[in-house]
Amino acid sequence: MLSGLTKRFGRVTAVDGLSFTAAPGLVTGFLGPNGAGKTTALRMLAGLVIPDAGTATIGGHRYAALALPGRQAGVVLEAAGFHPARTGRDHLRVYCTASGYPLRRADEVLEACGLSAAGRRKVRGYSLGMRQRLALATALLGDPAALVLDEPANGLDPAGIAWLRGLLREHARSGGTVLYSSHVLAEVEQIADHVVIMNRGRLVRHGPLTELTSGQGGLEHVFLALTTEEAQP
């Protein structure tokens, strides 16, 4: 849940009074043009960027105040964040140790993310899709209640995208929360229950996907209308 969230970088206000809630049991698609502030908002939710105003909470607590952060939220921010000379499996084992999970969790999530064969290779040799899978595997280590994902489909091949869709749907169906940002509107239309649209740091629309797109020309039409109209002074 985000409430009045604001972040300025120098003179640029990246996120401006953003408030919305992603409900459990639903997949919430988080949309906006490049530079709308999605990534900054998600990073504030994950406690990595410190807000200038407002709060971002998961299950009622700021990320930094979560007792078991890895079990309450799994966060994927980019298909980067690996030491190139460390193997994927060792990367996961480092975070197993840091969070107090048994080391076999590393092999379990490698298996779940289709990386078992690549686990003992250095990340240097991974494709973008494999890095994206490893980022997801890291987020899944703690079997988290909520998933927060920033463009998780980026770099995945069609089979990977289908696999990801299944994973997110299953997670929501079992009562988990899914908040994920994407530029691929067709993908969002296939999977999201609710949609949040941001433009220039502000919320411009939040509602059920069916309500947003009813009687109009699909999500793309609504998205372009909202984000280009708002861009006018």
């Binding site: 900054t40 990073r43 994950a46 406690g47 990595l48 960027v49 410190i50 990320y63 930094a64 105040a65 979560l66 952060p69 890895g70 966060v75 921010l77 980019e78 980067a80 964040g81 690996f82 030491h83 190139p84 000379a85 460390r86 193997t87 060792d90 990367h91 084992r93 480092v94 975070y95 140790t97 840091a98 969070s99 107090g100 890291t138």
Partner: protein, 254 residues
Amino acid sequence: MPRLIRAEFRKLVTTRLWLWLLLASAAWTAGYNALAIGLSQRSGSLTPPLSTAAGQHALFAIGAGGAGPLAAILAAAGVAGEYRHRTAAATFLATPRRARVITAKLITYLLAGAGYALVCCAINVAIALPWLAAMGIPVSLAGHGNLAVLGAIIISTALFALTGAGLGALLGSEVPTIAGLLLYLYVAEPLISHVAPLQAWTRYLPGVAADGLTQAAQAGVRLLAPWLGGVVFAAWALAVAAAGLRCTMRRDIT
């Protein structure tokens, strides 16, 4: 906290940098001993006469003590590398209490630095003792306060690593941190510490204070007494570590 220290050690040993820098430290120790002992009978030797306490202290302090700056680089690369390779996000997601993460890193590299020093001291002793004995120079660990110097080297190397880790956390950028460390330790400080009128002050600089701690005597440089050098160097290391900790708390991980 033990969990986080174990995680930091796992990070350290799952890439190879620790091994290369340890080999470099060992090579320096062996190479310096070979040169200093091999040239000791000629004019222009590297150390004071090796039959004296000052000569033996310098042999150990500069030989095994060479691990200090390399341990600092290891620590700086380990901490600042988290920003370069963007692993800082995953690290702070797993442990959002950043002060705990940085404290675990500081302790990890303090221990790693002590480990480097132990290996280099063992190599130094294994080369110097039999070689000097064969030359008819009486030398022992217990004699001339050599054991105290070896102990000081372990403390000094650990403090070097602590400083490197703190600096890495402070600057948050790997290449400038390591370049800055090298330029300071091998260019700026040696230059300024040889300026005679400034030596009343320059002996309090971190690297010169570390030389005071280990009694790594070089011609023309005034050093602090070992205990005072140790206190001053520890104060520098802790100040840098505290600054790194403070900076990390406020940094946006973008």
